[in-house]
Amino acid sequence: MAQSSFTERNLRILFPLPAIIFVALLMIFPVLYTLFLSFTNWNLTSGAPFSFVGFKSYARVLAEPRFLHALSRTFAFTFFAVVIEGFLGVAIAIILNRAFVGKSVAKLMLLLPLVATPVAVGIVFNLFYDPTIGLANFMLQSVGLPQGLWISSSATVIPSLILVDVWQWTPMITLIVLAGLAGLSEEPVEAARVDGASEWQILRYVTIPMVMPVILTAVILRLIDALKTFDIIFAMTGGGPGYASETLNILGFKYSFEYFRMGQSSVILVVLFLVVFACSLGIMKLRAASET
């Protein structure tokens, strides 16, 4: 026993150690390094080595109107996308939660957008939205509606992108909520029915409150992802027309790989990190409240 006493005594630390090292190297280090860079003036176009400038990069980026627009655009995109996905996702889950012919086929169809590669989705939707040869305008025209410019106009680009996000990610919410619904016990519903509650009342006052923690979990996951959306926007518009669909993540990418202002790009990413962190914390609080 003696030789293994060290292991025995430190099992609590030893077993999770590989995971801790992994997290530290691959998650915490990049975040700290980005934070470090955000206090420098590292700029590859100057060709000079970087130096510490304190909060100078912060002051410069935060005062930039383009940054403020990107920030509000990120919030708008996320808010509308997640709200629509939340309502649609829950509604579809409730419809799918009863037995009907073809239910498994319907579930399978729901999975399809989820497994599609975002960049491929972007390319297909680009063709779909093309104002001249795209299917979207063709469909509108064939039913006699006026044609749109979709992602080619700064007025409609964000709603068009939200539509793609909704198409791809609503099924995720549906699937999570479906799993939650399947795990609920039937008794409260039966009890309500015996008490004479209508279907709507059962849904509104029994089922939804019971499944609320699951809905909020799905929403947190979607929220974090939507705030960080990059692939679809980058593949479809690259932030354009002009800067009309530039979110924080796209702006951060442009600052680092098109402008090569690494220090200032880090500022944008630190802000994005804080935004995601604060939003997740808020929803987690909400979730805790809904459970009690």
């Binding site: 700029n43 176009t45 100057s46 093309d130 080619s152 790989f257």
Partner: protein
């Protein structure tokens, strides 16, 4: 347990031995662009490997991803790249300033035109071997012109008249890039022909009267007669429209000619596609003719001798001749003087190149290290002008602001006035 250990030890030893053997193999890593010449090189590399015994590990990337990858690897000092394709006008100055190019002291540059070499040389040394040149041309639909009974425009007045006449619900009179930064290169010839410039001796001057007039003209043309949604279009959006027969005229780089007459890719038959000199402006006719791609050796390379051998081969006259036959417009002068090659190259390309080589401007964008940012700023003006069909009341004011910003960037990077 012991057996497993012995097995693993054995496996490890044999791995080490085989890795040692691999180290004996002469190997280089080459990064190419997804460009017709990159593809040609890739398919010819086995010949080089067989002839020299050097193993070439090739990676092909889309142009902006290539820049991103090279920048990341070089900036973090972690690169194992030996040779790479590079865009002199887009990244040349920045890569040079950061010391990422190896000077090419032994290379024979005598076969390259002087204006082409001007963007490959910094100080006394040359760092990039030019591969491909491209110049701005006017593509047009011969059948549409014939039907309308008009001739191919040779100046901006005729260009506008033709665009107006040919424009209809099912056909855009004219197309050219409208997507902000991407449009900057294509608007350059318009600006030159009005007598303006982006930068003059290291100072931003695109708020001059001729430059503003040119931007207004560009916006008026595309806003009135361009395809729908042109402000989000680069060449990759316009080409399919042209191929689908939805565009009557298109001003863009000569490099796309091969693709728009390729019967596998287009619905418009090759005999209906015309190529002509870029039309003259009120001041002159000086379309851009630029070195769009070059190739260089990485300063960080640990196999510089092998890398140089690859570079010499990849830029050889033989391969340049092969490129010409595949409709790739190579930078070497001699291939444009060889009658045997010219007999097989499309005459439209030969003629338009002869004109651009004589009268053209070797830059198609603000030539500076922070070119990406400057292009975005100028792109804002182009979008504003297109959205207002050239009539924006704000354009002068906006241009003044953007010029100030570009000058500020030039000062930041130590390039102002140089």
């Amino acid at each position: 347990m012991r057996k497993i250990l012995v097995f693993m030890l054995g496996a490890l030893t044999s791995l080490c031995v085989s890795m040692g053997a691999m180290a004996q193999v002469k190997e280089i890593r080459v990064l190419l662009a997804n460009h017709p010449y990159g593809d040609l090189l890739k398919s010819a590399i086995p010949e080089f490997e067989n002839a020299t015994g050097i193993r070439v590990n090739v990676e092909s990337l889309q142009e902006s991803q290539l820049t991103t990858k090279l920048t990341t690897e070089f900036a973090t000092n972690s690169s194992s790249v030996d040779v790479f394709m590079t865009r002199p006008l887009q990244e040349g100055k920045m890569f040079y300033k950061n010391g990422w190019y190896e000077p090419l002291m032994t290379y024979d540059f005598s076969d390259y035109p002087k204006n082409v070499m001007s963007v490959s040389t910094f100080g006394q040394k040359s760092y990039i071997v030019p591969l491909v040149t491209e110049w701005q041309v006017l593509y047009y639909r011969k059948d549409v012109f014939k039907e309308a009974g008009i001739k191919v425009p040779t100046n901006f007045t005729e260009l506008e008249a033709a665009a107006k006449k040919l424009n209809s619900d099912s056909l855009a009179g004219i197309a050219s890039r409208g997507k902000g930064a991407a449009a900057v290169t294509q608007a350059s010839s318009y600006i030159y022909n009005f007598g303006g410039l982006y930068l003059d001796k290291g100072v931003a001057v695109f708020n001059s009267k001729p430059a503003i007039d040119a931007l207004r003209f560009y916006g008026k043309l595309l806003g009135n007669y361009g395809p729908k949604g042109v402000t989000s279009m680069s060449w990759e959006n316009i080409m399919p429209l042209f191929q689908a027969g939805k565009v009557a005229m298109w001003t863009d780089a000569s490099v796309f000619y091969g693709q728009i007459i390729d019967p596998a890719k287009t619905q418009v038959s090759a005999e209906n596609v015309g190529i002509a000199n870029f039309p003259a402006g009120p001041k002159m006719n000086s379309p851009f003719i630029v070195t769009s791609w070059g190739i260089a050796v990485a300063k960080q390379s640990k196999n510089k001798d092998l890398a140089m051998r690859f570079l010499e081969w990849a830029t050889s006259k033989e391969l340049a001749a092969k490129g010409m036959l595949a409709n790739i417009t190579m930078a070497r002068s001699s291939v444009w003087e060889d009658p045997a090659i010219l007999a097989k190259v499309n005459p439209g390309l030969v003629e338009t190149r002869a004109y651009a080589a004589k009268f053209g401007n070797p830059l198609d964008r603000p030539y500076m290290s922070a070119v990406g940012e400057a292009r975005d700023l100028i792109g804002e003006l182009i979008i504003e002008s297109i959205n207002t069909r050239g009539a924006s009341a704000n354009l002068e004011k906006m241009a003044k602001e953007k010029v100030a910003k570009v000058n500020e960037i030039l000062e930041d990077t130590g390039e102002y006035g140089k």
